[in-house]
Symmetry: D2
Subunit: 173 residues, 4 copies
């Protein structure tokens, strides 16, 4: 199992697709975006669910947390059932978020990867993508790494997704 953690527009999803292309075995790509997609529309913009403020702030409520806990248990079960899984996460709670996953994954072998990107560069890419609320990249760039411990870190400020994926793949298997 590979867990990537990084802020919005840091380039995690691009790295994940490159990883799926360069790793010899097939890997499932799951993550925060998948979870939000499968939630009810009402939780995608509410106090009990996940709310995106116009300035890029993100807050998460109790109903979101409850579904997230079950989701986490299910993802761990997929890995235990033999699936190779690369997780694309945004640790809004920093070290606490990592601790939550660490507990759920238990004795599974995990490669923890930090995906860094300079906040100003990520903010520019956020505008270039055109499908994200402007402000998320800047507000998350540092915060999501607070207290998190990695086996490996990559920085997309200057490195391409494919190059980062190759660095990560070299540490797998």
């Amino acid at each position: 199992m590979i867990v990537l953690n990084g802020g919005s527009s840091s380039g995690k999803s691009g790295i994940v697709r490159c990883l799926q292309a360069v790793l010899p075995d097939p890997w499932l790509a799951l993550g925060t975006d998948t979870l939000i997609d499968v939630m009810p529309a009402s939780l995608q913009t509410s106090e009990g669910g996940i709310a995106f403020a116009p300035d890029g702030g993100v807050s998460v409520g109790p109903e979101f947390r409850a579904l997230e806990a079950a989701w986490t248990a299910g993802v761990a079960a997929m890995a235990r059932a033999g699936a190779r899984v690369v997780l694309d996460e945004v640790f809004l709670g920093g070290a606490d978020s990592q601790q939550r996953w660490r507990k759920a994954l238990g004795d599974l072998r995990v490669l923890w990867v930090g995906v860094r990107c300079d906040g100003a560069v990520a903010a520019g890419r956020e505008v270039a993508r055109g499908d994200r609320i402007v402000g998320m990249a800047a507000s998350q760039a540092e915060a999501v790494h607070r207290g998190v411990v990695y086996d490996l870190e990559v920085d997309t400020t200057r490195a391409e997704s494919m190059e980062c994926a190759r660095t990560i793949a070299a540490r797998v298997g």
Copy 2:
């Protein structure tokens, strides 16, 4: 847990979104489309993975099957961990596909729902959607229901998604 089974363009996804809106508790919406989305691009068009023929035929290979088995175990684990899950499935193998899910879900309470749609009508909707290979709707309309046993059946040929969702919701909880 609710499992919807029906052919491509039979209207399952619309019913799922309406179910998420009308059911009082939050439900996760998972299914075949989610699984395909999280697979490597290489498995989305290959012999080992899932292949879509120009005439709408779909074939599935051993690598797809292996990941699908782990996925199935993980979805069951999410439900056991307390998540309400509505599954949006295409039972390409008919009764065998149902048996596979039945085994994975074990003692979980499941409502099995058949989503029917006249093949010619589904074929027209496939053209109207514009994002599906033309031919899938017609070839799956009958085949996916072969030997499958339901608690409830809805028919979108003449009923709206919202109406079908209300019928299903009335049987839940």
Copy 3:
């Protein structure tokens, strides 16, 4: 040239894709959604541009209007240069919006088509689609037809997109 006018979630886009499939010659599909897509993100949610209220209301400002006027002139020029164009419009201003297009299209041969859908049914389809602000369908269902004159009207409340497309195609050429 074919101009379809109808409220949000009345089924216009589905009819357009079916028209493109059943008409013997190739037709370009343009419309309000295309225009919004090509505008700057800043105009997609602002007072000078187009703003979508949480209750489904839509308001349009002066900068949007200016670009729209140039867009309209350009679409008319495409048709004059020989392109067959099917327009997918939401006449927020009713008869005034039609008058604006009538003036731009001048002597071009136009088939004006009203796409009706019962407001409650369109509201249900809006939920089923999951990608529209809930409330637009209901608020536009009647308003967009006010004072508009048609050569032909179709009603998607009970008719499929393909059936409506065939009715329209029979009047073309």
Copy 4:
């Protein structure tokens, strides 16, 4: 009017969105992708239309060419009617494609911008995006610039979209 020309996955669309964000006036973003989107599905994969080979090759037929000519005339008309337009093009025919646009745009003031990207880097980004046929980036990286004359060139191999957009914006108005 601004015309950007570059190969697939060279980063044009990102630059366009950044341009729309940094330029003080509102600009419409049109281009090859818009045209393909509004064509009938049948022309998107056929000999008469546009065909994408599995190796990334692109071929264009007579029916596509006819609609493209009318489209070009219409875009020029939008600009003459006062719209600021930034065009995102792939000059598959190199200098000939530029000549075709030059003729259509006549006396309009145009800034011709070449968007370069190293072929290997663009090929990596193509994998990272995950929504393009692999091979297009490599086959177009050089070919689309053959014989084309620019007012300005940017290179996304090492520069961010936002930085390129600022360079271009400095030459406008």
